[in-house]
Symmetry: C2
Subunit: 464 residues, 2 copies
């Protein structure tokens, strides 16, 4: 009897405890690879993260592990398909991470994963490397403890989730047969306010644009030409200010045309959620909430379309004073869209609005930056039931059903291209700073997350 055979007979809990140090070391290793997909200078790091994942998948006991080339960064694939008759679960995640700007707002190096007070801090710990590891460590633990899984599993971990490129979608289209499954399990979301486990039943879609306003080819002296040459920064401000009216409604013709209103039942479920608005705003560090009048905060946050300026720049931004009329001014803006808004119709409406509201004396250029469709998840399915019970067991708490305000274009793509239902269940705490400085993951959530996935796989297997 080999050491491995002996391990395989241990209980799941024993194996999990015994592998603690090795798992945490691997978690740190993964985070330390700065796989920022949006930054071309990090392309090699992204590929290094993919390679790291293949090793980890093989260590976990997955088979047919492969780095699948795409038009951009690769998709990492692995499977275990030795449970005939049992369902197949497709696990989706991404190994790429958001940029770290503004770097000065981090307490330390964003990629020096470090543990303190039960938290692991670093870019990607929550979104999404830590959550990929939850699934991988669940499979690894089961295979080590039992030598087999209760279901068939496939993993696809992509590298361009944070840059919204279409290479993953192209790969899906070309590999739809290969990744066939009964359900896609996506862990790229988090818990509800108050740290309540949450299954996401709706995801907003995304539309994003860059607006470039151009005046004179060179910046002008504001004394010599101010009051005569239109100021591109002021023109841009006027364009942006006109996008939202005083009631918080997006003031773009046709913007709300396709929005499906919530049913009374959906509104009640939202209203019943335990939610402390004051605590939520305190956590955000803002003095008041804003948005459409006549809608609750939770409705606005998850079920209504929104418009945000993500960045703005132009002219002189250094210390002191430079009395110029800038030659150009720029903004990036994005809209969260809901069922059944269509990105192309929203882009057209925004484009028409911006062009119509551009003052004379400047020109405007509008560039699409990417987007995705909204997604709805069936709540009466066996997989939502299995997940709910597994969560209850691991976290001693029933999950709530929530509408997530963020977009996961990959969910939309998988739902549409593979025609497979999506289970959206993530394990990050609500204040874990995804897309922000000092991103972190709770180690307790990570561990209970692994137990939840194990419980889910067992229940899925019992169904087979």
């Amino acid at each position: 009897m080999t050491a491995t055979d002996s391990l395989a007979t241990r209980s799941v809990q024993d194996v999990f405890a015994a592998t603690h140090d090795e798992r945490i070391a691997a978690f740190k290793e993964f985070v330390r690879i700065p796989s920022v997909s949006m930054a071309p200078e990090h392309a090699d790091d992204c590929r290094a993260a993919a390679t790291w994942l293949t090793r980890r998948m093989m260590q976990a006991g997955l088979e047919n592990v492969e780095i699948c080339q795409t038009g951009g960064l690769p998709v990492v694939y692995g499977d275990w398909l030795h449970a005939p008759g049992a369902p197949t679960v497709l696990v989706y995640g991404h190994y790429d991470v958001q940029p770290v700007a503004p770097i000065d707002a981090w307490d330390g190096d964003p990629f020096d994963a470090h543990i303190s007070e039960g938290r692991i801090t670093g870019r990607g710990t929550a979104d999404d490397k830590g959550q990929v590891l939850i699934h991988l460590d669940a499979v690894s633990t089961l295979l080590t403890a039992r030598g087999e899984l209760p279901v068939n599993v496939r993993f696809i971990v992509e590298g361009e989730e944070e840059c919204d490129d279409e290479h993953f979608e192209d790969w899906l289209l070309a590999n739809a047969d290969r990744v066939d499954a009964d359900v896609v399990f996506v862990s790229d979301t988090g818990f509800f306010e108050g740290d309540i486990p949450a299954i996401t039943v709706g995801l907003r879609g995304l539309v994003s644009l860059q607006i470039d306003v151009h005046g004179s080819a060179v910046q002008l002296h504001s004394g010599s030409h101010g009051g005569v040459a239109e100021n591109p920064a002021l023109a841009l401000a006027t364009i942006l200010a006109g996008l939202v009216d005083e009631s918080g409604r997006i003031a773009v013709d046709g913007f709300y045309d396709d929005v499906v209103e919530l049913s009374d039942q959906q509104k009640s479920a939202l209203a019943d959620l335990p939610f402390d608005e004051t605590a939520y705003l305190d956590q955000l560090g803002v003095s008041a909430s804003v948005g459409e009048t006549g809608r609750t905060l939770l409705e606005r946050r998850g079920t209504r379309p929104t418009l945000d300026v993500n960045g703005i720049w132009g002219g002189f931004t250094g210390d002191g004073l430079m009395t110029i009329v800038p030659s150009s001014a720029h903004a990036k803006l994005s809209c969260r869209i809901v069922v059944a808004q269509r990105p192309e119709r929203i882009v057209a409406a925004l484009r028409a609005h911006v062009v119509a509201h551009t003052p004379t004396g400047v020109s405007v250029e509008i560039t699409e930056l990417g987007g995705g469709l909204p997604v709805v998840v069936p709540t009466d399915s066996w997989f939502v039931d299995a997940a709910s019970r597994a969560i209850d067991e691991a976290f001693a708490q029933r999950p709530v059903f929530v509408w997530e305000g963020g977009s996961i274009p990959a969910c939309e793509a998988m739902s549409r291209i593979l025609d497979i239902p999506v289970l959206i269940l993530g394990f990050t705490p609500p204040n874990c700073n995804t897309h922000a400085p000092n991103e972190w993951m709770s180690l307790d959530h990570y561990e209970r997350g692994v137990m939840t996935v194990i419980g889910f796989l067992d229940r899925a297997g019992a169904r087979g």
Copy 2:
């Protein structure tokens, strides 16, 4: 008889021709010192420019040359006071220059002064190093040709004109007796459109502010919190857009209260100026002019108060997309003000407006960046007459009287503190890119400028 004696008997024109190469070499040397007063890292360069000037003044034959320390960058002083009974002309200029941002818009190194097609290009060639040299080379030429000047002269060349610090004003207050004169000759302006010599009869004042809008302490995920947390960039856009109404009027309560309307005579003189609006707009590279309705372009450009956004920034400004709600957004803005607006009243009005128009859910901070009072010049004076005749002789063209839209706080300070009238006559072509990339000076204007100053000094001396 020495070589110097022999030179001194030569005609002014001969001396000027003989010193051509040496003067141009000195011009380049002066421009090559990157004396950006706004940038602390260039403080040593600013001091080097001051030192260079003392050497040049001594070469020119000025006496009592001194680097006068201030609370900031020094004032360079020199005089020649051997014309008893004749008037004293105080020449004012500045050796500091504007920053060079955006550096990419320059065709070459901004400080590598180079000559091509009758132009010398580089930061400071026009504003104001080239114009300081026009006066210095006039004095040098006269002293070399004749061994004496027709009038007494004093030079004060400061180093903080482009950063609006108050050290020069403090120095003036402390040295008012020392720089007593009959007129201050300031060459820090340029020719009128169409390259017509111009004496400036009015200068606008300046008020400038920075507006900082703060939301959450960290940038937020726009999916999770968009539509709930006020967007600081959108709030800033709303604040800025509300500062100017659709008729181009500044929509700030009390802003126009102290504005003195032009007389009918002043309006006619402006209307009579040879001015090709289409050519002017073509030169700016803009499709249309903007500003207050019911005012001519020249009225708006020089005699009316204006408001410009000089720079704007906040949130994600890199390549691609980052779906955040920025934690803050910022703008620098400046107003040109006219007689008899008072900076402190305008600042108070702007401050009240911005605070009143800041949306809930964000906070706003307003910081003053500096400013100055408007100035009016007496057109019926002996010195405007002497200058007009000297221009006519050197450029074969009578000057027009114009209202300059820009501010020269030093003119205001000298006018107020020294109680000396100001002659504002500069020699730069109208399209010479002051405060912009590829600043340049015409060598022909430089040479005729020297001749104009010589003619002016001779006429001023004849008056004594």
